[in-house]
């Protein structure tokens, strides 16, 4: 089945003309027809457009000068703008919004020759960790459909895990790529802040938002990153840097590399199985020539509070534009502008409202210094913690999440528990450093577990290399979710 292959496998077959892009796309849509009814990973599918794009890709492949990702079916999270294609953020307020422009990452993927399969489900405006905050429908975990796929890029993760796309783009504000990747047993990368353009990503918290790939393996993550990374004049936080060849770096060894294990992230709140898995990873990396050292991130315990305050403040600002004037579907008859604002904004879901209220409160003059400024100070401390740590080690290893995928409905009405599960991932957003989630084993119940490899700013190459070597070393233990999908179905 082509739909369960990796980008690199398909690339070889497509280049050798052993398969056509059209056949690959058809295979993916066959799989979608089979499982989408259960998984519901997508908000919008682009079947006919995808076939047109596939034919175009085949023409290029025939000419022999096809770009890198030519003919690869990719899903895009539905908060990333696509010109002429509905971009809803899984919100009623944007359910008919068609952007007039492509996000820079979409432009770049199109230049790289991908076929866009569709737009994937998410927590409304990327606010959540389970995709249950989508105002359209929930998405189910391909490994166990009573469980969440994680979030907010849950649709992207589930689509890749279930063979409904070869790879996907997600966005990550506090772990929204890595946590669903871990829950769905795939790879997810949050790049360094400024490496991948945010132009066209509908913002949640601009200082924390990132765009990155969700893929079947680390090599694929490197390939997608190569396609979307690079300076963009339309993004003022974009950084001008010479890019390495991320795929070429994967074959280097890691002898002498120092892996830091932060004691604060391996404490008692951690699920024992997850903890055990991380020590297992450390052993594998040591056997590959790396040195493992205990390190400390002393301010990690304040990360959650800092993250939540900064994110909420920025979210309340980002979502202010949905007032029913130009953006935000106008609901009901309004007597005046104030009632129009209120009726439109009343359509937002509970999590969005919660963040707007909290963010609005802490930005008020009386609270600003006590909460917002203090949270920014903690953020600076956390950055300094990482600078210190990276003086001693090359990468930092931790679990991606404290637990495997939880059941649907489990945490929906317990927001603080939900936020707390972001503790491992949100550190990298506060610090802006690269972080990769790679599958690292399974629970007794057969649910995938993920580890997180964090690296120095703009050192995606090392992070990917470590993830790739681990993946190679443990390839025989790797399972496929599709089996479980079939078994359950």
């Amino acid at each position: 089945m082509f739909s369960s292959m990796t980008i690199s496998q398909l690339r070889t077959l497509l280049r050798a003309r052993e398969v056509s892009a059209e056949e690959v796309v058809i295979s993916v849509f066959d799989q979608i027809d089979k499982v989408e009814g259960d998984i519901e990973a997508y908000v919008t599918l682009c079947r006919s457009e995808a076939l047109v794009q596939a034919k175009r890709a085949d023409a290029l492949l025939k000419e022999g000068n096809a770009p890198d990702l030519c003919g690869i079916p990719i899903a895009i999270k539905d908060n990333i703008s696509t010109a002429g294609l509905k971009t809803t953020c899984a919100s009623r307020i944007l359910d008919d919004y068609v952007p007039p422009f492509d996000a820079t990452v979409v432009t770049k993927l199109k230049e790289a020759g991908v076929v866009i399969v569709g737009k994937t489900n998410l927590d409304e405006f990327a606010l959540g960790s389970s995709t249950e905050n989508s105002q359209f429908h929930v998405t189910r975990n391909p490994w166990d459909r009573s469980r969440v796929p994680g979030g907010s890029s849950g649709g992207s993760a589930a689509a890749v895990a279930a063979g409904e796309a070869i790879a996907a783009l997600g966005s990550d504000t506090g772990g929204s790529i890595r946590q669903p990747a871990a829950f769905c047993g795939i790879v997810g990368l949050k790049p360094t802040y400024g490496l991948v353009s945010r132009y066209g990503l509908i913002p949640a918290a601009p200082s924390l938002d990132h765009v990155g790939p969700l893929t079947r393996d680390v090599r694929d993550a490197a390939l997608v990153l190569q396609a979307i990374a690079g300076w963009d004049g339309k993004d003022p936080t974009s950084v001008q840097k010479e890019l390495p060849n991320y795929e070429a770096v994967l074959s280097e060894d890691i002898t002498g590399l120092v892996v830091g294990l932060p004691k604060e992230l391996l404490d008692n709140e951690l699920d024992p199985e997850a903890k055990e898995a991380i020590f297992g990873v450390a052993n594998v990396l040591e056997s590959l020539g790396a040195r493992v050292e205990a390190i400390s991130l002393p301010h990690a315990e304040y990360a959650m509070a800092s993250f939540y305050l900064i994110a909420s403040a920025e979210i309340s600002s980002s979502l202010a534009c949905f007032d029913g004037v130009r953006l935000g579907k106008r609901y009901g008859e309004a007597k005046d502008t104030t009632s129009m604002f209120m009726k439109t904004r009343g359509q937002l879901g509970i999590e969005a409202k919660r963040r707007i209220l909290v963010g609005t409160a802490i930005l008020q003059e009386d609270n600003y210094t006590t909460y917002f400024v203090k949270a920014q100070k903690v953020r600076t401390k956390i950055r300094e913690d990482f600078q210190q740590a990276f003086g001693r080690c090359d990468v930092i290893l931790s679990p991606t999440t404290p637990t495997p995928a939880f059941t649907l409905g489990h945490k929906l009405d317990r927001p603080v528990i939900m936020y707390k599960s972001d503790v491992y991932t949100s550190l990298a957003n506060l610090a802006g450093i690269p972080a990769l989630s790679v599958p690292c084993g399974y629970t007794e119940g057969g649910l995938p577990l993920g580890m997180q490899i964090m690296g120095k700013p703009f050192d995606e190459a090392t992070v990917l290399k470590v993830g790739h070597l681990y993946e190679q070393q443990t390839a025989s233990e790797r399972r496929l979710p599709q089996k479980e999908v079939k078994a359950n179905g």
Partner: protein
Amino acid sequence: MADWEVIIGLEIHAELLTESKVFCGCNTEFGGEPNSQVCPVCMGLPGALPVLNRQAVELAIKAGLALNCTINGTSQFDRKHYFYPDLPKAYQISQNDRPLCSHGMVELSVGDRKRQIGIQRVHLEEEAGKSVHVGDSIISSEYSLLDYNRSGIALVEIVTEPDIRSAEEARLFLEKLKTLLEYTEVSDCKMEEGSLRCDANISLRPKGSSAYGVKTEIKNLNSFRAVQRALEFEADRQRRLLQAKEVVLPETRHWDEAKGMTFSMRSKAKAADYRYMPDPNLYPLQVDEAWIESIRQNLPELPDAKRDRFINDYDLPPYDADVLTTSRHLADYFEACVQEVDEPKLVSNWVMGEVLRWLKAHELEIESSPVAPKELGGLLKLIQEDVVSTIVAKDVLSEMFATGKSAVEIVDEKGWRQISDADSLEAIIDGVIAENPGPVADFQKGKTKAIGFLVGQVMKASKGQANPQKANEMLRQKLQK
């Protein structure tokens, strides 16, 4: 009864003369079709990001330097949140506690006193769009239309210290500010196009007191005259309240130009909370010393320096120098003309008199004068060379404005050359003497005033072309024989 001191502070918004908007590449020209100069950034589409325009920063620095400000090496862009239909992002990108320029000062001449008005800050921000209410007023209109052409145009907000002490000073300050911004080509300062706007804060306190009284803010000031009138009205209103031991309410008041009164718009008892936060998309703005220095070096001569130079180099009276330097274009016009005719006072009289009068009557600015400085010079040379009299020259200038022809062309065409040669004049004078025996006799009896009447008759007979001085001399010679 207490004697009251008036305390005024102004907040001025001036649109910068950048070619493109402050955070996107859209055109800034005035008067385009509604919503024809927009893009995802200035329409506030989600996912579009602001990219700062370097020219806007440069012009804001220029404004800061012209107002003697400190240019801050690091400043910060903040989001100012409020819901309003013409604000597409529901926040305006502005600068709150770390402005680009601060601590400036403008010196005014008020009568023969010098007054220094402190400038608290000059900061950079973006313009909002424009609401067009369909119907008579915002209340009765059935719906409103929105034009985002203006959305995202670069603005500076200039805030004075509460150093202004009268409505007249406020107007003088604005005139000076306009001159400075025009000189430096920071803004065209057209109040009628909304490229310069002013809100005023005013309070009163007993003379000698150091505490400030309750202030009101006045909006809808559409001309410098309106600023002065509104502040005079408001000072008077507050004075009467205070003298009657009543209180001034902290509120925003609307100036009604037709009624000549201010009206309460809304209470300011609870200050609006804009929930300022640093814009996470825009890193702090760093401007280095070298850049500031190069902008400073390239500043044009500012009005005060030019005024002093006009007094010293051209020997002009201070009044003339003041008037001529109110606009850079006017000063340039004057100097270009002096290049042609080396008699500055003559040029100054004509520019300030006939030229400005004609332009004002035709609602034109000096830069669009149909008579170029060189052409005016041509006319003034004819006066210097006695080819035309001052009186005739005024007619020639009117013809020049009307036809665009040169002074020489007009004089020749119309046959307006002054008659100065003795032979031609003699014939006319003899005729006048023959026809006016009465006044001639009067003069000869010692009534010297009669000569004026006779010269007038010579002028009349020559259709104004006789050289009056020459005619006077010749008449006297003949009658005294």
